[in-house]
Symmetry: C2
Subunit: 230 residues, 2 copies
């Protein structure tokens, strides 16, 4: 399947929404495409930030890794979202590793091209400010959760967020459309896969969720929300 990078797509991305039509051709002209297979790495933590990516199709995962190999999932990235934001501010290295969790098609720009585009079209820079602000905010909320909440509640928040972000309505409830192991959930909630497994088992008992291998379906989102809140 060939992907034609058209204006509608660009206008739906967080980085290029509301950009004047005249700029779209220039944006397209400066872009490249890159395919990544599920499991492949887009870039690694510490790599020099040479390119910025926008997800066209598929889904990516951004992680932070410690020196001794421990990992935390920062975020999943879906169509229209940006990976490699460090490229925008020039110079540095990527603060995290980004991996494809499904086969994905990415549109990319070099740092130099992005700087030129942002300088000429202020709305692109404004969009960058907006999405970085939003992600910063997300992280603040997560820090508050990690600091003040007990594990079960954190897992509930994580699952609800994922359902929101990548949920698909089905007969049994909202299915999270990402292959999601217990380990993954643990790395998003700041706990261990054991505790996640125990918690999900308890929830399954109460018919709040139903889950399989790398799969979670939220049956009673409202009950889950009440676990997350009160």
């Amino acid at each position: 399947m060939d992907f034609h990078l058209n204006s509608e797509f660009l206008q739906g991305t967080e980085l290029f929404r509301d950009v004047p039509a005249a700029a779209l051709h220039e944006i397209q002209a400066a872009s490249s495409q890159r395919r990544v297979a599920a499991g492949q790495v887009v870039f690694r933590q510490g790599d020099p930030a040479g390119a910025l990516y926008v997800v066209a199709t598929g889904r990516l995962r951004a992680t932070q890794t410690t020196a001794d190999g421990q990992q935390v999932i920062i975020r999943y990235l879906g169509p229209g979202e940006v990976a490699g934001y460090t490229t925008l501010s020039g110079g540095g290295t990527h603060p995290g590793t980004v991996t494809a969790v499904e086969d994905a098609l990415l549109i990319s720009w070099t740092g130099a091209a992005m700087k030129k585009l942002m300088a000429e079209h202020s709305s692109i820079a404004m969009n960058a400010v907006a999405f970085l602000g939003a992600r910063y905010h997300e992280m603040q909320v997560r820090i508050r959760e990690l600091s003040t909440e007990k594990v079960e509640r954190r897992i509930a928040h994580t699952v609800l967020r994922l359902a929101e972000q990548a949920g698909r309505r089905t007969a049994r409830g909202i299915e999270i459309a990402i292959p999601l192991s217990r380990q993954d959930l643990a790395e998003m909630s700041g706990t261990t896969l054991h505790t996640v497994s125990r918690t999900l088992s308890a929830w399954e008992e109460q018919k709040i969720v139903s889950c399989g291998r790398r799969r979670v379906v939220v049956a009673k989102a409202n009950v889950l929300a009440s676990i997350a809140e009160v």
Copy 2:
């Protein structure tokens, strides 16, 4: 003491560095000043984001609060740093509460003024992208720490970061130049004041730090660093 908002100051801020000289007058003309006494609130979480502030003198603290009143300290803000970044992307409400921890003087701009300035001078928008990216990165690192590290190490990281950010060399070591209670440290490290107190006592025993009421002096930064790292 009167503060004259001059070009040198603006050029040293994270938001207005490297802005063409011609723009500085316009920036100054659009600004207001606001004094806040220690302990006073600059804006509250949930308030509509009407203004953006740059710290001229003094120090602020940004916090996130839960519905039930639990707090987490996101960050301290010193001279040259921005409070109220949400104002840049328009519309929303402040994601956290900002309070002065010392008497402070703030320079402020309305959202409309900032939008105009950013649209006309792309370097301002680029600076905003840079500092938001940096803060987002900071938060990612903290999330990794909260998720994977034990309490003592987290406290060590927090203290070292504060020493870096607001440290003052003295005979006894690097003194953190912010009044800093055990509770404050707890809210930055994701633990309780009790655990912070116990940990600091143990460190004081080993002469790694020396501390008093709302005061911490790092005597052996290298030992603290080794606690934080391995």
